[in-house]
Symmetry: C2
Subunit: 258 residues, 2 copies
């Protein structure tokens, strides 16, 4: 529902001053997207020596793995190849698309006595990345196109996402729609919170198949960001689901619960 | 998205005649709810001896386990105690509420060459019951009240459902809404398919907390069943989420893909 992202990450990277003294932030993934910079902006204000039980190089789940089928790989290559272009002089330059890294943790340790226990927080995992077995649940990668204000997600649905026999659960589809529209809204507007999702299910998605989620900006009005999303078969011939999303911009304090 | 349920189960229990010869059905949970009767209605038409790798007494995930906190247990007891009543003569009789069992498998083996491989189907698990570790993801139990056409779900959100730091992912909330509204619609109208979910997120749900999903029938119009759903704190003081759902009645052949 609530989204952190590039803007929040950038704010934090400028220094810890804006953050309450009672909170110490660790490298985190926010919504699991857009947060590659976190590992470079650790600030330890109130504790000089801290145990750090996790790798400082967390796994990026958006990179290809052996569970990806040919359709998934093909779509990945299609967009990934457009993340970098060659100039006439033979030099590399940034292309129209950008791949978003994706992690599975969002850690927050509170020293000031907040509502959540440290135990729950340290064990918490991003819902869409909570299963270790590759290919069994959500395999996805997102690409954004800043100029066209578009986002595309390639999504391969694993066998643990079943709803009706042989097909993806409506909640798993809603989860991917929330993830993609929320990430895109964050990319466009900074930290946001999901206010509304309106989802029309047109045709079921077979388990094991690869689909595309196309997300576009509809409009921005004050704190509100309106986006649309279509879920199609990877060749675009079949419309599986259509949705609209409304996201509200929030401040960092709201996200951190301070 | 698509829902099987009591009506489908009852049809199947009347005999396999209505089912295509190319399909052999195994005890299944349909949408994981409402299907306790499946184990008693196995029909093996085309194969005399079949391996059965699973227990014939599948685990009912809606029963209390050690991960349930006091709020979850309290709510469970509240509704479960109303599933049976005592008459003036001191005899037991069915109460206004009924607990729905919940399983994690929906198996379908096709001998006639359907689009899905046997491998995917045999490994498939219901999305909301796909994690073994108790308490880590979706802990929930549903109760229906036929007379009042209401359904209540007690839901304890585990640490693997994280979205924003310390809170439940919007997709996990949508998943529970889809599950509860879909199950209730199936209970009221027989096999259905989700056509629309419109979800308004009012306030975030802290990880580890127990909430209630209240689902009511709005109206029925031909093939359409309209329901509403509110997600509240367990004491009812806080509204977390509101949603409407539209479900379309479908025939069994549609569910089985024949």
């Amino acid at each position: 529902m609530m989204r952190t992202g590039v803007h929040m990450v950038r704010s934090l990277c400028r220094g810890p001053q804006a953050i309450s003294n009672s909170i110490t932030l660790f490298p985190s993934t926010g919504m699991g997207q857009l947060a590659a910079q976190w590992t470079s902006c650790i600030r330890c204000r109130s504790m000089a020596v801290l145990p750090w039980p996790f790798s400082t190089q967390p796994r990026d789940f958006s990179l290809p793995n052996s569970s990806w089928g040919s359709e998934m790989r093909q779509q990945y290559e299609h967009y990934n190849s457009q993340c970098e272009e060659m100039t006439e002089e033979g030099e590399k330059k940034r292309g129209p698309w950008r791949r978003l890294p994706s992690y599975n943790r969002s850690l927050k340790f509170a020293t000031g006595g907040v509502y959540l226990s440290k135990i729950i927080q340290s064990k918490a995992r991003l819902f869409t990345r909570n299963i270790r077995e590759q290919g069994s649940a959500f395999e996805y990668v997102m690409f954004v196109n800043k100029e066209e204000q578009k986002c595309v997600c390639v999504f391969q649905a694993g066998h643990l996402l079943e709803g009706p026999p042989g097909h993806v659960h409506g909640g798993a589809i809603a989860t991917m729609i929330d993830t993609v529209t929320g990430t895109h809204s964050t990319y466009l507007s900074g930290p946001v919170m999901t206010a509304n999702l309106n989802i029309n299910y047109r045709s079921p998605i077979p388990l094991g198949s690869t689909v595309l989620l196309h997300c576009s900006l509809d409009k921005k009005e004050g704190r509100k960001t309106f986006v649309t999303c279509q879920v199609t078969s990877s060749d675009g011939s079949r419309l599986h689901t259509e949705a609209t999303g409304l996201f509200l911009s929030i401040n960092v304090g709201h996200i951190l619960g301070v």
